[in-house]
C-alpha cells in the first residue's frame, strides 16, 4: 500500500496501571459495505499492591431468609468468615444480613464501614456467628443498603458479594427500581447456593452491577473456597470505574458493544456520551486480567481504497470532580473498501469465534426456557444448535454440561434428544454457566493492519 502515515492498529500506552488494547478484525469491506466487526481485547496489568495502597471497600451480603436455616446457613457463615479473613488490612468492609429487610450484621446496627484490622476482623467473625435465619428474600433492599454504604466512600474499588439460596420475593418493579438506583455504584458478584434460586434474577444483578458472571454453588460445602476466591479477586482489583470509550465517525451507528470474554455481557445500551461522538461503556473494576469485546459499527460507505477509522477505542479512567480523563490505552477499528471479494468476505477468526459463543449462550438460554415451558420442539432445536456450536467453537465445558440435559445423537449437526429426567443442579449449572465463554488468543505476529495492499 502507499507510503504514508502508518497508524498502528495496536497501541501501547504505559501508565499506571498498565492497560493494553489489541484489535482483531478484517478491515476490508466490499464496495458499499457498511458493517465493521472487531474483537477488542483489553488487558490490564495492575501494579503489585502493597498494604492499603489501593482504597477498597467490600460488602458481604448473606441471605439469612428462613429457607437458609440449618446446614446452608452454617456453610454460608463459614464462607462469609473466609471472605472476611481474605480482606487486606485497611480495607473498609461490612457484612449485611439479608432477609425481608437488610440488616447490618457488622458493624452491628450501624450503617457504616469498619476498617479492617485484627480487632475489627475478629469482631466481624463473631458477628457473623450471630446471624440467624428468618424472614423472606428481598434482594433489592439488600443491594440498596450496600449502595448506601458505598455512597459514604469517595473512590477506590467498591465490591460486594451476594449469596442467596432462594427466589426474590420482591415485586419485579421494586427490584428493578432498586437495581437502577445502584447501577454503576459498585460491582457485585452473585452466588446461588442449592437449586431454589433463579438464574435469571442473579444474571440480572450481575449484568447491572458488572459482576464476573453469576455462579452456582451446588454443594454448600464448596462455599468457603468460592468466597475466599471472590474476596481475594476483589482485593486484586486495582482500578475502579474503568470505561471503554468508543468514538465512531459521523453518521455511523454503534450496532453493539458486547463483552464476550470471560462472560457474555451486552453493554450496547449502557453507554454515556461524555466526549464528542463517543460513548463510554462501563466495565467496572480491573485487576490483572483480560477481557474481550465484540464491537460492531455501521459506517457510511466509502470509495475503494479509502481507509476509515471506524472506531477509536480507548480505555479511560474518567476524571472525578472536573479532573481530566485519563486515557490508559487506545486502539483503532479500521475499515477499508476493496473490490477484492475474497478479501472483503473473509471473516476474522476471533470475530467468528465469539459470534459463535454469543449465539451458543443464547441457544442454551432459549432452549432451557422452552424446556421449562414444556415446549419440547423449540427446546430440542435450540439445545441441538447449542451442542453444534459448543462442538464447533471447542467449548468443551459447555458441551459436557449440555450432555447432562440432552442425549447427543450427532454433535456436528446438533441432532439431540431431550433427556426425560434431568437433575435440577445440572440444568441450573448449564444455565448459569451459559454466558461463560472460551477465550481465543489475539493473533500474534503482524497485526491486522499489516496486510499488503494492492499495487
Amino acid at each position: 500500500m502507499h507510503k504514508g502515515v502508518s497508524v498502528p492498529n495496536r497501541t501501547d500506552r504505559s501508565a499506571e496501571p498498565e492497560f493494553r488494547i489489541d484489535v482483531d478484525q478484517n478491515r476490508f469491506l466490499p464496495i458499499g459495505g457498511r458493517e465493521v466487526h472487531a474483537v477488542v481485547s483489553v488487558t490490564s496489568r495492575s501494579p503489585v499492591l502493597v498494604g492499603s495502597s489501593v482504597r477498597a471497600s467490600e460488602v458481604i451480603i448473606v441471605d439469612t431468609s428462613g429457607s437458609m436455616y440449618g446446614e446452608k446457613l452454617d456453610e454460608a457463615k463459614r464462607a462469609a468468615r473466609a471472605a472476611v479473613e481474605a480482606l487486606r488490612e485497611g480495607v473498609r468492609f461490612a457484612v449485611v444480613s439479608g432477609g425481608s429487610k437488610a440488616r447490618m450484621a457488622f458493624p452491628e446496627g450501624e450503617r457504616r464501614f469498619a476498617e479492617c484490622d485484627d480487632t475489627t476482623r475478629a469482631a466481624a467473625l463473631e458477628a457473623i456467628g450471630r446471624m440467624r435465619a428468618d424472614g423472606g428474600t428481598r434482594m433489592g433492599t439488600w443491594l440498596e443498603l450496600a449502595g448506601e454504604l458505598f455512597a459514604t466512600v469517595d473512590e477506590g474499588i467498591k465490591h460486594a458479594i451476594l449469596l442467596t439460596d432462594g427466589q426474590n420475593n420482591e415485586l419485579t418493579e421494586e427490584f428493578e427500581h432498586a437495581l437502577r438506583k445502584v447501577t454503576g455504584r459498585f460491582v457485585c458478584d452473585c452466588r446461588g447456593v442449592g437449586t431454589d434460586w433463579k438464574v435469571e434474577e442473579l444474571r440480572r444483578i450481575d449484568s447491572a452491577l458488572l459482576g464476573g458472571g453469576p455462579g452456582i454453588i451446588a454443594d454448600p460445602a464448596d462455599l468457603v473456597a468460592d468466597f475466599r476466591a471472590m474476596a481475594q479477586a476483589s482485593m486484586g482489583k486495582a482500578v475502579a470505574d474503568v470505561v471503554l470509550r468508543l468514538w465512531t465517525p459521523q453518521n455511523s451507528v454503534v450496532r453493539y458493544v458486547k463483552q464476550v470474554s470471560p462472560t457474555v455481557r451486552d453493554l450496547t445500551h449502557r453507554s454515556v456520551e461524555r466526549a464528542p461522538q463517543a460513548g463510554d461503556y462501563p466495565t467496572g473494576s480491573w485487576g490483572t486480567e483480560n477481557r474481550d469485546y465484540h464491537v460492531c459499527v455501521e459506517v457510511p460507505t466509502g470509495d475503494p481504497g479509502r481507509q476509515l477509522r471506524a472506531g477509536w477505542v480507548r480505555v479511560v479512567l474518567p476524571g472525578a470532580g472536573g479532573a481530566e480523563d485519563q486515557v490508559l490505552a487506545s486502539g483503532n477499528i479500521l475499515a477499508e473498501w476493496t473490490a477484492d471479494e475474497a478479501r472483503a468476505t473473509e471473516i476474522n477468526p476471533r470475530v467468528a469465534h465469539y459470534t459463535g459463543q454469543v449465539e451458543l449462550a443464547q441457544a442454551i438460554q432459549d432452549g432451557l426456557a422452552a424446556r421449562r415451558d414444556g415446549d419440547g420442539g423449540t427446546a430440542t432445536t435450540r439445545l441441538g444448535r447449542a451442542v453444534a456450536l459448543a462442538e464447533e467453537t471447542g467449548n468443551q465445558e459447555t458441551a459436557r454440561l449440555l450432555r447432562k440435559v440432552v442425549d447427543v445423537i450427532d454433535p456436528v449437526t446438533g441432532t439431540v434428544r431431550l433427556k426425560t429426567s434431568v437433575d435440577k443442579v445440572d440444568e441450573m449449572t448449564l444455565d448459569t454457566n451459559s454466558t461463560r465463554t472460551v477465550r481465543t488468543r489475539p493473533e500474534n505476529g503482524p497485526g491486522t493492519d499489516d496486510a499488503p495492499g494492492p499495487g
Binding site: 504514508g4 497508524v7 455511523s252 470509495d303 481504497g305 479509502r306 481507509q307 477509522r309
Partner: protein
Amino acid sequence: MEHTDNVRTAPQQSMSGATRGGSGTSGGNGGTGGRTGDGSRPGLVPSDGGPTAPQVSLNGATAGPAAGAGGGRSDSFTTQSMRRDSVTPRPAAAPPGTAPDWPPPSVGSSPVQPTNPDMCVWCPGRVSDGYCEKCGFLQPTGRDHVEVRTRAAVGVSDRGLRHRRNEDAMAIRVIAADDARAPGTVCAVVCDGVSSSPRSDEASRVTAETGATVLAEQIRRGADPREATGVAMTRAAEAVAGIAESLDSAPACTFVSAVVDPAAGTVTVGWVGDSRAYWLSGGPESSASTLLTRDDSWSEAMVQMGALSRDEAMRSANAHALIAWMGADSGEIDAHISTVTPTGPGTVLLCSDGLWNYYPEAESLTDAVPGAGTRPHEAARTYVSLALRAGGKDNITAVLIPVPGAQGGLRAEQD
C-alpha cells in the same frame, strides 16, 4: 466500454502540422456528429470559425503522427509516450537545469493551496493521529488525494487504486472579480505525467503550475484567451523541458487548459496529449454536452486516418500511446487551441484519462453526475469516486468550472 465515434465538435486540429492553419470548417461543423434529435438546440462551435489557430509550434519541426515505435505495455490504461525515432528532439528553449521562471501570482488570482494539514480533506473536521476527528477518514499524504476549492472552480485529484503515486497535477487561478480587464476569468490546467518517463510527477506539477500561472498573468495583462493559452503552453513546455537532465531522461506529461471568460461567455481550451476538456450541458436549453479536445493518441490518429474503427483502436495495446506530449524529448509540438461559446449554463470539465477511460462520452459524463455545475465540489468528488469504483486503474483528476450562462444570453457564434 463502448466508444462510439462521436467527437462532435472537437475542435478539429490535425495531429501534425500538415493541416495547420487550414481547413476552416466553420459553422456547419457544429451540426454534424449525430447530436440528439433536437434541432432547436444550439450547437457548440469554435467561436472564430477557424479551427485551432493559433498553432504553437514549439520546435518548428513537423512530426508525423506515430512513428510506431515504443509501445504496448500490458496496462492499457497507462499513459505512455511513443518515442519518435525519426525526429531528433531538441530541448525546448529553456536550457536544461534552468528553473522555470514564473513569478508568484499577484493579487486576484488564487494559487493552488494544498488543504491545511490540520484540517480534514473530506469534511470540516480537525485531524488527529492522521484521522479526521469527525468523519474518521485516514488523511491522504502528499498528492494521494488533493482537492482545490475556489468559488469559481474546483479540482479533485486522486492516486487511484493501482498506481504507487499520483502523477496527475492540476492548477487553478481565478482572476479577481474587480480586475479591470478580465474580472472573474478562470484559468485551469490539468497535466498527466507520462508514466514511462522519469519523474513524471514532477513534470506534471511544474507544467500545471507554470501553465496556470502564465495563463492568469497573460489574461490579467489583457491578452486574448487564445493568445494567453499559446503563451502559457509554450512557457509550460519550456518549464518541463527545463527539468530534464538529458534527452534520454526527460520528464514528460500531457497538458490541457481552459480559460473561462464569464464576460464574453467563451471557453478557450488548449491541449497536448490525451487529457481532455468537456463541455457538460447544464440543461436542455444549453449547448449539448461535447468533447472539446481531440486526443494526441495513437488510437485517435488511427481513427482519424480511417485505418481502424474506434473500437478496434481502443482494443489495441497501443490504444493509449501518446503521439504528443510536453517534455524535453517531445520534439515539435502542435499546441491545439480552440474556443467555443456555449449557450446556457453548463460546466467545463478538465480531466485525465483516469476518469475519461470509464466515461469517454460527453453524454455519459454529464449523466453520471447530474447538476455538476450547481455543486461542483461534490461533483468533482463524485467523478473521482465513480472512477475509483470502476477500478481506479490510473490516477484520476477532474477540474470543474461552472459556467452560469445567465449573463448576456450566451449563444453559439456561428461564424
